[in-house]
Symmetry: C2
Subunit: 455 residues, 2 copies
């Protein structure tokens, strides 16, 4: 590709509808130039992922991550940094799981235990596998499941353009699959990973046991191995699988939200929250999920400070303590805000990957949404044009529900997210520096406008 | 990230403004479902890149690629497939180039000769390096350049959101840099790669010698090595570099555009062209540049055929013979179309990477652009919202200029393009299947609407 004749038209400025709009456009462009030229988020992420790595709540790595967050917020120029203590779950994977097809030639499957899953007995489980396409198929086969392993081979729907819809559709097999199988006497479950990746990485994520039924071991397998297993069963309906997992749920332990503030100049007791979750699955570096949300939030504070953009309200960057296997950090944050009768104007989250921005999901009144839409020409030059959806924000959802705070979440392009989500491939190398920075710019611009004009 | 509560709202359908709009929406959704569920483009690309690889015009690999293109268009269901012969340049790199800082500890630089560059003398060139920031700096230092190597350390501007603007700004150093240095007696040039990648890959691309001055060897270095060289020169202004390149320009040779047609049912003698270029740089697999444009164009034909979408005009898929170091394929295509007095309605190209779509650049009249904009709600669900720019389409540009044919080019998200553009890292693994498919959908939908309603 060569484009010698490409004209140097338009460098991101938008036509000024009026003087105010023009001033905002210039300020946002300054923020963008600073972030694109001198941004620190990518290097912050490198340190978080490469020197700490996976950081499940309760792990020693998560303690290191909290210290990293504290120090990084200080370096970014926060007026105040503090920890907010909360109790968090403490699930550990133990020795690596083994899942294999039993036979003349035993075949190892690329598998991973689901979060919160119990262990198999110490000697593992060997049993025949019954494949089911979906829950209806499970019901149809319920009389065959006693003493068997259930294999949920539910496919991630490729026809949704926004991949979070495919996830919303498929994730019930991870959440409810084990208990639904256990109620019919199954000994364990294998699920097809929630992904349409072109590789064979297995994807973890929490399951949720129904207390009415026995808790049985649950693993996910990579897509190629799910297809392989399905073929084996078709060729030999008596196919047996061996599963051994070594997970344990220990007593709850202490975790911390890490909070950094830029004090508001006019309304210091009004808050705007922006954050991501600091914890990640143990098997991944937690780069897109959700290292990027953390470093983007810190970068906004750094940029405001560097450029002398003084918010009227207090800007609070929150690195939430625990999202993956609970949401205890967010629960505590909302609880304390309610106890203290804090006034919160808006809460924004980035937890859908550090990909190139498309817009925001916004859960708020129509009038508030329309106010944000009236700024869309200021955000469009940086890639954000889509403001129409409700949804998003597991962590900020707590304060949204507890205090009625309007909330939003960055909507990055979603095509690559479920290739790496909860898989060992969620590593730093899969984050693109410019995409990460553009997400930060759109978030920083939205917060700037909300702080300036209210909601 | 978990989103148990994510609602299954909206699966990409747009609200129907009227019955016609609704029918179009349904047809486009069928195309999208087919491409997202059964698309072949990603596997086509795997074969092109992994079994053939780099394919510079005139190379044996390019001959293989032409055969691949012919067969793949046949398999996709084209009514007719044929070759269109043209003469193409025949430049060969020869043995791998060597560029190193001379000194007590000689340091190899990650370097690559520019396309069309001449070779150094057989024993190489060793000379002092003069660093210049830009052409103004070159003019200021013109009296120091005789017998030296000029190092253009011009930085890719990170503040343009659309990275093609950074390219348009920087590429003159690759195109004109060697001759501008040669006019002041320089022996060779080194340029900083046209990229803001976070790695050290060198990026090639054609240079253009001015016949008034001696032709001197030209290489590009990776960004880390550009910074290293700059530091060395700062520490020791007498720093010398050794350069040895082995390129040759052989006599022009025969190449072919590969063309596949779906014959129009109503106006078979009116044409809509869609294509990409089949050639690539020798050092890369040419995945994004421009394997993706080729497989997307073929996939549109396959999808129309599979779904029985019969175009009124003849749809011509063109895999252009030579874009990287000339544009001889496109030149020939326009020449033949003019000779035959063909009526062309529209020409579309994909040559900006197989990334997630953002829109189209459109070079046409305001009335025609407005017609396309009136369909934007049909394209938005697949990610295309930006229809405002002129530009694009090196290959279709020939028919645009020769016959006044309205032209367009897919505008994918550009953030990752210049990380890999013309570098050894432009490989299959850096293409995402869903992003590729979404680009195809938006292209296929635009062509469907133009064929149906005219322009």
């Amino acid at each position: 590709m060569k484009k010698y004749l490409l004209l140097l038209l338009g460098c991101g400025f938008v036509p000024a509808a009026n003087a105010q709009h023009n001033e905002d456009s210039i300020t946002i462009r300054k923020m963008a130039n600073e972030i694109l030229s001198n941004g620190n988020a990518y290097e912050d992420l490198r340190i978080l992922t490469k020197t700490i790595g996976g950081r499940l709540a309760g792990s020693p790595q998560m303690v290191k991550a909290e210290h990293w967050g504290f120090k990084t917020l200080e370096n970014a120029g926060a007026d105040t940094v503090y920890y907010q203590e909360c109790m968090v779950p403490h699930w550990v994977r133990g020795e690596k799981e083994v899942v294999k097809i039993v036979g003349a030639k035993s075949l190892n499957l690329n598998a991973i235990a689901l979060g919160k899953s119990v262990a198999t007995p110490a000697k593992g489980i060997t049993a025949q596998v019954i494949e089911v396409k979906d829950f209806d198929d499970l019901e149809a086969k319920k009389d065959q499941l006693k003493g068997k392993i259930v294999f949920y081979n539910y496919h991630f729907n490729p026809t949704f353009v926004k991949t979070f819809y495919s996830y919303g559709d498929a994730v019930r097999y991870r959440g409810q699959g084990p208990s639904k199988a256990a109620q019919y006497g199954a000994l364990a479950v294998i699920i097809r990973s929630m992904s349409h990746a072109t590789d064979n990485q297995p994807h973890t994520g929490s399951t949720n046991y129904d207390s009415k039924y026995p808790k049985i071991a649950a693993v996910a397998v990579g897509l190629e191995d799910a297809d392989l297993l399905s073929k084996q069963i078709a060729a030999n309906p008596g196919t047996k699988v061996f599963i051994k997992t070594n997970c344990q749920t220990l007593p709850d332990t202490i975790g911390h939200n890490v909070i950094g503030e830029l004090r508001g100049s006019v309304y210091p007791d009004e808050y705007i929250t922006v954050g991501g979750h600091l914890d990640s699955w143990d098997v991944a570096e937690g780069a897109h999920d959700d290292g990027t949300g953390c470093v983007q939030s810190i970068e906004i504070l750094r940029t405001y400070k560097k450029l002398g953009i003084q918010p009227k309200r207090t800007l609070r960057v929150v690195l939430f303590a625990n999202e993956e296997n609970g949401a205890r950090g967010a629960e505590k944050y909302a609880e304390v805000a309610k106890e203290n009768n804090e006034k919160h104007v808006f809460a924004l989250e980035s937890d859908a990957g550090g990909f190139t921005p498309r817009g925001f999901t916004l859960s708020m009144s129509t009038a508030q949404r329309n106010k944000i839409k009236s700024w869309s020409s200021l955000l469009m030059p940086y890639g954000a044009y889509d403001f129409d959806e409700e949804g998003g924000g597991v962590d900020v959802g707590f304060i949204h529900r507890a205090l009625g705070v309007p909330m939003g979440e960055l909507s990055p392009d979603s095509q690559r997210y479920f290739d790496i989500h909860h898989a060992p491939s969620d590593v730093f190398e899969n984050v693109n520096k410019r995409e990460l920075n553009l997400g930060t710019i759109t978030m920083g611009a939205l917060l700037y406008l909300i702080d300036k004009y209210g909601l």
